[in-house]
């Protein structure tokens, strides 16, 4: 019964050491996080973007469905824990539809081994379709989770660090302001139009399109005039385009370490996937 004790002890020693050291580190991290005054450190958006890009590329290189599925499960648990699950699942609808469409097309057409489940399906197509499905869901859930708690303007400014042309960033920052104003104004105008019998359920497609067009057209014409006036006012107060107002701090050691850990983790995961 105890013959395992008399054979090679290496595996037993390794597993014991790693387990207990991990237990100690885990307890220490938990205590540090729970310490009073610790608000938690946010990951630098520069690291976040880089990490996300590398991770998504790695996910698309994975050959086994269970690794991307594991990433999806972890992200879903994080979303549940962070109480953003509703927002998370709402954003997942679009990628899931697209991924499902690919599974159907691949399953119906790709491969040679036919399986009959009422409709003719191909096993190779289903395998490849499910792999793509798993990759899409994993990449989307990672993206949603990482980007949902980062303000757009912060990421736009991060792009300056990545040497994205200044004009593009100026357009982006103006656009992000206009998008919010536009959406709010469009909603108000739609309500106003609805209160005046616009968008009626009885009206046909042509009338509805006319309503949409009149709102959009009026918004654009009004907004163009307003945007030009505001911009001229900004110029008269010394604002110059292509000028950065945020000076980026160099990445500190902790951020660099975190980036290194993230990148190594991804590489190890990809390596394991390829070895299996």
């Amino acid at each position: 019964m105890l013959e395992w004790l008399t054979t090679d002890p290496l595996n037993g020693i390794i597993i014991t050491i790693t387990f207990f050291i991990s237990v100690i580190i885990g307890r220490y991290l938990r205590m540090k996080r729970a310490a009073p005054g610790n608000k938690g450190k946010l990951v630098d958006p520069r690291i976040k973007i880089l990490f996300l890009f590398i991770l998504i590329i790695s996910i698309t290189l994975m050959k086994h469905w269970y690794f991307p599925t594991g990433i999806t499960v972890i992200c879903t648990l994080f979303a549940l824990k962070s109480k953003i699950f509703q927002n998370f699942s709402r954003k997942m609808i679009f990628p899931v539809i697209l991924a499902f469409f690919i599974v159907v097309i691949q399953g119906l057409t790709y491969g040679t081994n036919k399986i009959n489940y009422g409709i003719p399906l191909y096993s190779e197509g289903l395998d490849s379709g499910f792999l793509i499905f798993a990759r899409v869901i994993a990449a989307a859930s990672m993206g949603i989770l990482l980007l949902s708690n980062t303000p757009e303007n912060e990421i736009t400014e991060t792009m300056r660090w990545y040497r994205v042309p200044g004009t593009m960033l100026d357009i982006s920052s103006l656009m992000s302001r206009y998008i919010k104003a536009f959406s709010t104004e469009a909603k108000k105008m739609k309500w106003a139009q609805e209160s005046r019998c616009g968008f009626s359920k009885r009206s046909g497609f042509s009338n509805k399109m006319h309503d949409v067009a009149s709102i959009t057209g009026a918004l654009i014409t009004r907004a163009l005039v307003r945007a030009e006036l505001v911009y001229r006012a900004m110029l008269s107060r010394g604002w110059k385009h292509d000028r950065s107002f945020v000076s980026h701090q160099p990445l500190d050691h902790n951020d660099l370490l975190m980036g290194f850990v993230f990148a190594s983790g991804i590489m190890i995961l990809l390596g394991i996937d390829r070895m299996l």
Partner: protein, 304 residues
């Protein structure tokens, strides 16, 4: 419909990024030149960018499917600010849309190519082509329709190239057909949307890029209506046939058996198709036949 992260293979991610960056760089050059001449151009394009973002996430009613969907918006933008600037703003809009999981971060290059380059340039080309021979709403609407169709056909091509590199043409057709139930009605919605909005803007505020068109004659209206009807019949027929197990064989065999039973395998048509490939071959035949018929139409009618 934008391609999400995780679908494209890495080599295609970088390929589409490379092409899109080229167009974006050209667009930025043009924008910078315009800003130097007229500083107010910057908020104008940013505003149109915001419009592209908002309308491409703004659901509008789509007939036939009974549901709602969103237009592409870049053909509309290209009419107002030009196609190169439209490429730049569409890439920015796609970047923002990645925040709401509409598209993705690694697929911005591919989506910019389909929506910004194919959609904007295709739409703008159609608009310029029809501007002088049709009313403004027709040329703008056709730009919207063509831009929308081109966007989704390019998306289908991108999917086929990345997912099924061994049989690209077959899967391109297949993905395009898969998009039809939602995207064909959507293309018509984009037609209506672009036509209405451009007409509204031109009536309320004269814009430098928008000029009033001219009226359509009966011949053009009939030709356009025939084109739309025949395309709809073919598309619906192919789509109904596919789930029925026809495996997208099309009407090749019917045509061969009934219209050209004695066609020589070494004939010019067959040889042309083998050299060009079927889609290009058919396009060439369509262009030649259309130009010939259109050119000699009046003469043929007079003789009859």
């Amino acid at each position: 419909m934008h391609i999400s992260d995780g679908i494209l293979e890495p080599e295609w991610i970088f390929f589409w990024y490379a092409i899109s960056i080229l167009f974006i760089a050209l667009g930025l050059r043009i924008i910078n030149k315009r800003i130097k001449a007229d500083p107010v151009y910057l908020p104008r394009i940013a505003l149109i960018g915001a419009v592209v973002f908002v309308i491409s996430v703004w659901h509008i009613p789509v007939p036939v499917t009974g549901s709602s969907s969103h237009p592409v918006g870049t053909p509309f933008a290209s009419i107002i600010i030009g196609p190169f600037a439209a490429v730049v703003i569409s890439s920015i809009a796609l970047f923002f849309q990645a925040f709401i999981a509409h598209g993705g971060l690694t697929t911005i290059g591919a989506n910019t190519f389909s929506m910004g380059i194919a959609g904007a340039f295709g739409g703008y080309f159609v608009y310029r082509l029809l501007k002088n021979i049709s009313p403004l709403w027709i040329s703008a609407g056709m730009a919207g329709l063509a831009g929308s169709m081109l966007t989704y056909m390019t998306t289908a091509l991108q999917l086929a190239l990345s997912l099924n590199p061994g049989n690209v043409i077959y899967y391109w057709k297949l993905y395009s057909l898969g998009f039809i139930p939602t995207q064909l009605p959507l293309a018509f919605a984009e037609f209506a949307f672009t036509a209405y909005v451009i007409k509204y803007i031109s009536e309320t505020k004269g814009m430098e890029n928008i000029q009033s068109g001219c009226t359509l004659d009966r011949f053009t209206i009939t030709a356009l209506m025939l084109m739309v009807s025949i395309i709809s019949i073919i598309a619906i027929g192919a789509y109904i046939g596919y789930p029925g197990g026809t495996n997208m064989a099309g009407i090749d065999s019917t045509v061969e058996a009934m219209a050209a039973p004695a066609a020589s395998p070494g004939g010019i048509g067959v040889r042309l198709m083998s050299v060009l490939g079927e889609p290009l071959g058919f396009a060439l035949v369509g262009i030649t036949g259309g130009l010939f018929t259109g050119y000699f139409w009046s003469e043929l009618r007079r003789k009859n």
